[in-house]
Symmetry: C2
Subunit: 75 residues, 2 copies
Amino acid sequence: MAAILTTLSFVPQAVKTIRSKQTNGLSLLMYLTFTVGIGFWLAYGIYLMSWPMIIANIVTLALSLTILGLKLRYG
Amino acid sequence: MAAILTTLSFVPQAVKTIRSKQTNGLSLLMYLTFTVGIGFWLAYGIYLMSWPMIIANIVTLALSLTILGLKLRYG
């Protein structure tokens, strides 16, 4: 439940950023650090062969990379 | 390591939002869902009596509540 909520919480942010292109309020350092952190969670999930962790973190990684990409593009 | 990065990643966002008050790019739905999700992770950590989880999620909860509060205040 917790993993679903924290993972899916990035969907509305990604959608809003894709639509509005308003990235000035977003912190680049946050999404850089967060994306690397999720990378570690994904590696840890693979290490444990825990499919819920692997799937949740692949989704979160895709969402945070999307937001990070938009932030880099629109500044 | 993963927990430290994903937890601390919210510090730059909280600092940026506190300073800039630029919340229009932030998704209210994200921070509502995320904050509830972190609440579940905290409850899960207490259930497991896992101090690393409890401490990491208390910090993340405080940061996401701060950002959520600013978003509610500045719209």
